[in-house]
């Protein structure tokens, strides 16, 4: 084994902390009628869980609610997850 291989080097991996969507208590639901596609929600999501088409990646969205709280059109509502 080379020295470099023996070092504790972590490799970039999607889902390295699991499917964080399972943390969610409330899920963001976008009302496309009210949305004007300003992109503020996607810009402010810490997790980059909202893509360019403004689709929320529910596999990873943690349900923090920033997107809903900051949406200038109040187009996002946080709905309780069914357990």
């Amino acid at each position: 084994m080379t020295t470099r291989m023996r070092l504790a080097i972590s490799r970039p991996t999607k889902g390295s902390s699991g499917k964080t969507g399972s943390w969610r208590v409330f899920r963001p639901v976008v009302d496309k009628e009210k949305c004007n596609a300003c992109g503020i929600c996607a810009m402010l999501c810490p997790e980059a869980a909202i893509d360019e088409e403004l689709e929320v990646d529910l596999e990873y969205c943690k349900g923090c609610g920033i997107c809903a709280h900051e949406c200038p059109k109040s187009a996002i509502s946080m709905k309780r997850e069914e357990k």
Partner: protein, 293 residues
């Protein structure tokens, strides 16, 4: 300004708490720096949320290093890249505890030597990763796990200390203003020598507010004048747009304090102290901007 790139350098998702501003800050720092960079990260929330060996959410090289050594380590890296003729950007990304308390001597050394690197301190105003103990950056009156009755001392003037090293570029930013943050990181990286950016990063569990209010809390910090956004280029101060607007008619400080559990029951003397400090900093920066001090 160039458009903010759509590339993401943090793979979904880190283990950060929901609504974490450290994560939001890092997202834009990495976008501004691009792939040819190395992050130097001492122990802090960031070093934990990277993920556990053998996996990491970070899609850029990250070097984890002891608290006191971050800027020293960056100095060595920067010199090595220079010797190899590489333009790889070296960025230290450290918490407030790791900067204002533990890492300050190596930070000072690197700035004195003129190391070509960018030092970013994301400031959640306590030792977040170990359970929110007070740091030198915790503001007066804030309850932490080691100041259950509210901190007696005031927040250390880290920016004043860095400014005394006369770096070619330094700035403050806030996670709630990602465009402003992105621009500042981009500008800093276009300049040679030691650069510094101090980013206020509201922390939902640490400051005791609910996760959806992270961005709102950052904006309130700026709008009440508790946090002032500015740049200092070759010593010349420019107050940034959002703070310029806020200085004309600041919101009452109470609007920032009231939603945060860490300020619950804060006494009038501490509020007065915070107010006086904010006003003093604003006045000093305005005078510096005008060039009258």
């Amino acid at each position: 300004m160039t458009e903010i790139p759509t590339e993401e350098y943090i793979l979904k998702c880190t283990s950060a708490c929901a609504g974490c501003s450290d994560t939001l800050t890092l997202r834009y720092v990495l976008k501004a720096a691009g792939p040819d960079m190395v992050l130097v990260v001492p122990a802090c929330c960031t070093s934990v949320i990277q993920g556990a060996y053998p996996n990491t959410a970070m899609n850029v090289p990250v070097y984890n290093v002891a608290f006191a050594a971050a800027a020293a380590c960056a100095s060595g890296m920067s010199a090595a890249f220079q010797a190899a003729g590489r333009k790889t950007r070296v960025i230290v990304y450290a918490g407030d505890g790791g900067t204002v308390d533990i890492g300050i001597q190596s930070l000072s050394g690197a700035f004195e030597r003129g190391t070509d690197f960018l030092y970013i301190c994301y400031d959640n105003e306590a030792y977040g990763n170990t359970g929110m103990q007070r740091s030198g950056s915790t503001p007066a009156g804030a309850r932490t796990t080691t100041t259950p009755a509210g901190k007696v001392q005031t927040k250390k003037d880290l920016d004043g200390i860095v400014a005394a090293h006369n770096p070619p570029y330094m700035a403050t930013a806030c996670a709630a203003y990602p465009r402003d943050l992105f621009k500042k990181v981009e500008k800093a990286l276009s300049i040679r020598g030691p650069k510094f950016i101090h980013v206020l990063a509201p922390c939902p569990p640490g400051w005791r507010f609910s996760s959806e209010k992270s961005v709102e809390m950052g904006k309130l910090a700026v709008k009440t004048g508790m946090w002032i956004l500015y740049e200092r280029e070759q010593g010349k101060v420019t107050i940034s747009g959002p703070s310029k607007a806020a200085m004309i008619k600041p919101l009452p400080l109470e609007e920032y304090l009231a939603p945060q559990g860490r300020f619950k029951g804060i006494d009038a003397a501490s509020v007065a102290l915070l107010k006086a400090q904010a006003e003093k900093t604003a006045k000093r920066l305005l005078r510096e901007e005008e060039g009258t001090c």
